[in-house]
Each structure stands twice: as structure tokens, then as C-alpha cells.
């Protein structure tokens, strides 16, 4: 599903984001990217989203080599990727329903399909009753669930989460993790960058540990590991 082969990203100022990284992710996997800030997690996420292009190596997503993908094809690549960010990124002047429907509108989905899918995905994340609320009327957890609903409403095969629990209190964070696990169980591949040690330890999923732009550990059903070795 996702294949990262010997990928390096050197920024124009000469600093290396990631160095010679190779990670293979199967369909339906749940993978944590862990590491301290500056370890290359964000760079890796940006490379997957094709926000950045690798300076070396090859990235394949859904059998498409993304390196040499022409600019006009990038939107279609992104339709395979649902994205959730730490800061939710909801549109403040749109309701919960409109925020989720927006993701379908902009890829020109038929309005019939929008009217069917949006309520379904809102009830999946437990926000059916809040569909008319505006983001500023919601708690942090509810906002992130809205963002999650928006990320999966187009049924992407891959869900990419960049510190999705970073702005949430522990119990709300767990609600989100339950949802992510649920989504994963339905067959969506989930990639999550985080440094929430307790969550990683409890989930017992695949953990890829990054340090100074390199993979130093990649284990199935692992924990967060010893933090001292990160630095």
C-alpha cells in the first residue's frame, strides 16, 4: 500500500529532514511513527502527502510512484489519503455538516452521494446530533472527530494522522484512538505520527522509531521504547 525506498530529503538550506529511509506498509496496517521533535516525523508525513518531494529514493502509494507524479495529478493522489492534523483545521464559518460535506464538494461528488455519506460518517464518529453546530461550539475532542469525519468521508484507503491527539486531554485522546482503531478495523490503513508514549504503549501496534532523520527501530506490536535512545 505504501512503499518508501531509500528516501532522503535534504532541505534547500542543507539540513537533512530524513536520510535513507525504507518503510513498507501493508494494506490494513496500523503504524505509529514516533520520535522526538526534529526526528523527521513531520518530514516523512509531508513526503507521503507529496507536500514535499524526496531528494533521493522512491515513494509508492497505492501502486503509484509519487516522485515523478505531474502536478495536475497530485489532487487525485490525495483523494487516496485522508489527513488529520493536530490543530483540526476546521472552517469556522461552516457547520459540522458543512465542514464534512465540503470535502466531498471540492472533489465534485454528486450531491445525492453527499447527502447520504455525510450523515453516515457523522454518526460513525458520534456527532450525528452536533451536525448543525459550528466549530467554536464544540469541545476539542468533538472538533477532532469532525476533522476525522472529514478525512474519511471520501473513503480513502489510507488515513494519515499528524499528532491527532496533541491538543487533547488524555480521556478525549482515547476516544479518538478508539475511533482510529475502529476505522482501521474497517480496512483503512492508518499511519499516525505521535509522541504520546502512553497511547503507543497501550495500542500495541507496529512502531517505527525515527531519530535524526533515520529509522532506528521498526517493530510489530511494540511500545514507544526508551526515550533516552531517541536523542
Amino acid at each position: 500500500m505504501i512503499n518508501i525506498e531509500h528516501v532522503s530529503k535534504v532541505y534547500p538550506n542543507g539540513s537533512a529532514g530524513v536520510r535513507d529511509i525504507s518503510i513498507h506498509i501493508e494494506k490494513g496496517e496500523f503504524v505509529f511513527f514516533v520520535g522526538s521533535s526534529g526526528s523527521g516525523k513531520s518530514t516523512l508525513i509531508k513526503l507521503l502527502l507529496k507536500e514535499l518531494d524526496p531528494t533521493e529514493g522512491k515513494i509508492t502509494i497505492n501502486n503509484v510512484v509519487t516522485n515523478d507524479l505531474p502536478r495536475e495529478k497530485v489532487p487525485y493522489l490525495r483523494r487516496n489519503l485522508g489527513v488529520v492534523f493536530q490543530d483540526f483545521r476546521l472552517l469556522p464559518n461552516k457547520t459540522v455538516y458543512e465542514n464534512v460535506a465540503f470535502a466531498m464538494q471540492v472533489i465534485e461528488a454528486p450531491s445525492k452521494q453527499i447527502r447520504r455519506n455525510v450523515p453516515a460518517v457523522l454518526s460513525l464518529v458520534g456527532l450525528a446530533k452536533k451536525s448543525r453546530s459550528y466549530p467554536n461550539q464544540l469541545s476539542g475532542g468533538e472538533q477532532q472527530r469532525t476533522a476525522l469525519a472529514r478525512a474519511i468521508v471520501n473513503n480513502p484507503p489510507i488515513l494519515i494522522c499528524d499528532e491527532p491527539t496533541g491538543n487533547l486531554d488524555p480521556s478525549t485522546a482515547w476516544d479518538i484512538m478508539d475511533l482510529l482503531e475502529d476505522i482501521n478495523r474497517r480496512g483503512t490503513t492508518v499511519v499516525m505520527a505521535t509522541h504520546a508514549k502512553d497511547i503507543v504503549d497501550m495500542m500495541q501496534k507496529r512502531v517505527v522509531t525515527l531519530r535524526r532523520g533515520q529509522v532506528i527501530r521498526d517493530i510489530q506490536k511494540g511500545g514507544y521504547g526508551d526515550e533516552t535512545e531517541f536523542n
Partner: protein, 302 residues
Amino acid sequence: MKPSSIRYYFKESFSGLLKNRLMTVASMATVAACILIMSFSYCMVNNLQYMLAQLEDDIGIAAFMPSNTTAEQVENVKKEIEGIEHVTEVEYVSPDAALEDLKKELDADDILAGLEGENNPLSNSFNISIDDIKNQGIVLQKLNEIKQNGGLENIKDAHSETEVLIKINTIITVLGIVIIVILVVISVVIIVNTIKISVFTRKTEINIMKYVGATDWFIRWPFIIEGVLIGLLGALIPMLIAWPAYAKSVSMIYDFFPVIKNMVTFRESSEIFSILLPFSLIFGILLGVIGSVTSIRKHLKV
């Protein structure tokens, strides 16, 4: 492009215009002001050139034949002059007709009395019109050749007047172009900034659109429509002001200075605006499209 998307584009662009109401009005007003000044310059330049052309028409070359020429000689020389490049019209003036003209001009019949017929000292002559006063030099050269061959005796041209007219014409044209270019640049800068603000307030929106896989054109359309609407309204308003204002000014000038009508006439307002109106509207639309495309470009690179 799906109908639902087109509806979306228009909804988005209208809401964008309303959300940035102040900037929308400000930029429309600025575009309107620029186009108004441009229209004013155009009216001025166009009319001045039109009037110069009228004055130019009055400036011709007069060529006089030696006295005691036969009708056959007159006919030959006339044909010869007509054969010169850039000559558009050759009018033959008989000595009698010349005398009549002179009498009218001097308003002194008694002084010139008795010079009719056999006593007429005036010779056969031609009034020569040319296509453009710029070509006067070339024509004069040819006429001088005829003079050397004895066909003509004297050539009278309005050399200095011609030079002045050509100079005025050039200055006006250059000045008009400079003013228009400056205003075009100002309009572009202003419209780019308005749309930049509009784009900036919707940065998150564009960012989300990029992440969920909206195409660049899907993102661009509402902003382009926004720019076109600003440009179009910004162009239409000054046209609605300038057209009646021009017509009114011309009739007022004629009323106050009736003499002017004998010398020159202004262009009809319909003549001016049949060019100016479509030009302004197209210019407004182009301004809007260029403005939105340039201001959104940066934000699409995600």
C-alpha cells in the same frame, strides 16, 4: 465542470466579495477611477487627433502654372500631379475662379475691379490634397521636378504649419499612451492586492481543499469569478458616467463657443464609446483574471 460545481463557484465568489465588503468596494472604486481617467485621456487624445486631421485636410499644396498656358498643357500637368504617390486629389483652379476667391477673401471688389477676363494677372493653379501630411516632403520633391521641367512655375506649401501639427500629434499620442500605461499598472496592482486579501482570508480553506484533493482549477474558479466581477463592475460604472458626461460636455462646448464649429468638430459620443465601452469591459475582465491568477498562485503550491 458540473452544474453543482458552477453553483458552488458563484456562491463562493459572492460570499468572498461580501465578506471583504470594504476591500471589494475600494478596489471596484479604484478600478473605476482608473478606467474613468483612462476614458478621459482617450476622449482627449482621440478628439485632438480627430481635430488635427481636420486641420490637416485644410493644409494642402498650391501649385501655380506659368502664365499663358494652353488647356492641353493644364490637362497634362494635372495628370502628371495626379500620378504622384500620396496625392489624393487635384483640384484645378482657373484664373477666373482664383480671382473670385481672392475677392471674397479680401472683401474688396473695387480694388480688384477690371481685372476680369483678358486682364486677369492670375495663372492656372491646382489645389493638391495628400493622404498624410507626413508625406508632404515626398510630394513636394516630385512637384519640384515638374517645376524644373517647366510644367509649374511656383509651389506654395504650408511647411511650418505641417511640422507643428505633426509635433503636436506625436506629443499627444505619446502622452496618452504613457497615461494609459501608468493607469493599467495601477489597476493591476490594486486588483491583485484585493484578491490577495481575499485569498489570504481563505487560506485555511484552500489548504484543506488541497489536502482533500481538490484540483487547482476547482480552487481557482471562485477567485477568478470574484476578480472578473470586480473588474467588470469597475469598468461598467465609469462607462455609465463617462458616456453621458462626454455627450453633455461636447454640446456645452458647442453652445458656449459656437465659433468652434466652423473650425473643428468633436467626435460623436457613439463613435467614441463604441470603441471605449467594449475595450473597458474586456480590460476590466482581463484585469480581474490576471489579478486572481497571480494572487492565488502562491497558495496552490502545497
